[in-house]
Amino acid sequence: MMVSSDIIPSIAQELSHSKEAKRAKKLIFYVSQRYWESDFSIIDGYSFESLLQNLYENNPTLDDLKALLFQAVNTLNRKEVYNKIAKYVFQRMAEIYNNVDEDSMSQNPPQGNEFESELVARIVENIQYHDESPRIKKLVFAACKQYWENDINVIEMYDLNEIILELYQLYPNAKRLRKALDSIVATINRQNFYSFIADTIVGELNYLYKHDTTEAITDDNASEEETKLIKAKSQDTSHELQEAVTIQESEVDTVTPSESEEDSLVVKMSTDIVPSGVPEGQILPWLKLDNLFDLKQEIMQYTNPLRGKILLFYAIYQIHPSEQHWSIVRTCSLDDLLIKMFQNHGKDIKTIEKELMYVANSGIEGLEPDDNAQTVTAILESIKHFYRKC
């Protein structure tokens, strides 16, 4: 194996002899000096080796390096060429970081939580096969890396296992994760739909939180700390955003502004994060989960379960049917929808009725309003029974 100290000269050697030596140097200069220099004579005053060394010293982890490289490429023109260079640099530099990792590993053996990694693998699988996988990844990524990455290709370069573990370490309980996700969702377009994505993420991470028995004990008096965490985070994000904007402005090579995707960031990002009024508790005090089985049975007995889910989904997340096809309900469960509804409205049957009726008549593709009305009636009757038992 190559010794760490030999790796940088070897990368420098390779790059300086490559076809794209000039672009490689431009890119390395850009990421190590953190600005785009258009005058190549200035860049040429530096050696590859010193730039790479600087890059290594300023990025304590491989993840930092990865983020920096691919963020930078993203601001540039001729992405394919620069992406290839970035990939090469990343792969070669990884050798140094891995060497260091091995050194530190031998000192403190890995904590070896087999159970945890098994759960993470399961969560990752669930996310990978989810119909809304790209959006989930974007939101998870934002909560983890504290900036919004719109390019799914950049996110895909990261190991989702690691991202999930990082997220779990960053937010030690479901409450904190919830708050962090809510504050991100509050800053993006399609908030209603993203609040569903946030619910999905919390639902998945709950596999981890549930098995963590220490949570219950530390949970109660953590609110102040949480607020601080979120404040710090929102400052972070706005700072990063400004940085990103300045990079883009000073970018000479830029031709096409990055396409304004539907999910793109609203520019007012994180200036006015309002704490959301949604109740945090997983289960409401009056809500008995055992009875939820009876409620579900009654709904299924008296109406079409799929139609019920569709109406509940649009009503709870207040998404217009023209915005999102109902096939999305395949990714959530009737249980979760019912619990979410009780979290939103408690025992306020009038509001529940109003919202469900509104959705029933909103022209959902392929669903007759008359059939929808039958479903709403059945759901309301079942809920009334349920309230009596609680």
Binding site: D290, Q297, Q301, P305, L306, R307, L334, G366
Partner: protein, 331 residues
């Protein structure tokens, strides 16, 4: 037969379309109540929100067909091939699903009440949140057991279901409702029953080797001769469980509740009962070989004939219990 011809003949009153070949047909929302489609080929057909109550689809090829939100109340699907089919939120109440091939099918949140699933193959199917109350999955004499290997039954409602002899190897039943279920002689090796409710279930001769039952409710279960070797029952509730002659070798029972449980002649060798509560438990002739009983509460239990010679009994509360030699323990 062409689709148009089929619809024309059906709307003009014809009902029997046995053996028809209509693979990939689109019948979204169609009213096909009582139609006879036995032995037909309808693979990849789309029946989303279709009305098929009392329809006869026996032995039909329905591979990868889509029945999302369809109403199949009292329909006959026995012997049909439903591999990878979609029944998301569908109604199958009282349907005949005997011997169906349904591996990898999606039955998320489906109404499966009173369905006859005997000898069905539901291996690796998704039954998350489905309601199966009153359904029949019982293994008949010389019949094939219902195959639920690797199936996902998280939060499914199986209250009162007859699952005698069913194969649930490595199935996931997290948070499922299994109250009063019949799981006699069923195979749940490696299954995940974390947080499941099994209150009052019949679990005689059940195989739960290596299964996860963390925080599960097993109060009042009958589990004679159950095999729980290497199972994880951390913080499980086993109050008043009857489980003589069960095998609990290396079983994890940390902080489990075993008050009033009947564990006569149980093999607890190398099991971990750290901090378990076993007040008034019947522990006659129990084999505690190298069992960890640290900080367990065995007060008022009956230990006549039990072998405690190699158990770790640091900090155990034996107050008022009848010790192996018949003497009552007093502080």
């Amino acid at each position: 037969m062409e689709v148009n011809e089929f619809i024309q003949r059906y709307t003009s009153g014809e009902n029997d379309f046995s053996g028809v070949m209509l693979a990939g047909v689109d019948l979204v929302g169609a009213d096909l109540i009582g139609i006879i489609l036995q032995d037909s080929n309808l693979s990849r057909a789309n029946f989303t929100f279709a009305y098929l109550s009392r329809a006869n689809l026996s032995r039909a090829n329905l591979m990868e067909s889509n029945f999302s939100g369809a109403n199949l109340n009292q329909a006959s699907l026995d012997g049909a091939n439903l591999h990878r089919s979609e029944f998301h939120g569908a109604i199958l109440q009282k349907a005949d699903m005997r011997s169906v091939q349904m591996s990898l099918a999606n039955l998320l949140d489906a109404n499966l009440m009173e369905v006859d699933f005997r000898s069905a193959d539901l291996s690796n199917a998704n039954l998350k949140g489905a309601c199966l109350r009153g359904s029949n999955m019982r293994q008949e004499k010389r019949g094939k057991p219902t195959n639920l290997k690797g199936a996902n039954l998280d939060k499914a409602d199986l209250k009162n279901v007859d699952l005698q002899g069913a194969d649930l190897t490595r199935a996931s039943l997290v948070g499922a409702n299994l109250a009063d279920v019949n799981l006699r002689n069923a195979n749940l090796t490696g299954a995940d029953l974390t947080g499941a409710n099994l209150k009052g279930a019949s679990l005689t001769d059940i195989k739960l080797e290596g299964a996860k039952l963390i925080g599960a409710n097993l109060s009042n279960v009958k589990m004679e001769r159950g095999n729980l070797t290497d199972a994880d029952l951390t913080m499980a509730n086993l109050e008043s469980a009857t489980m003589p002659d069960a095998k609990l070798v290396r079983t994890n029972l940390i902080q489990a509740n075993l008050n009033f449980a009947r564990l006569n002649r149980v093999d607890l060798s190398r099991a971990n009962l750290y901090g378990a509560i076993m007040r008034n438990a019947s522990l006659m002739d129990v084999f505690f070989a190298r069992t960890n009983l640290t900080s367990a509460d065995l007060s008022d239990s009956n230990l006549i004939g039990a072998d405690l010679s190699s158990a770790n009994i640091t900090g155990v509360n034996f107050n008022g219990s009848i010790m192996p030699d018949g003497q009552v323990y007093h502080k």
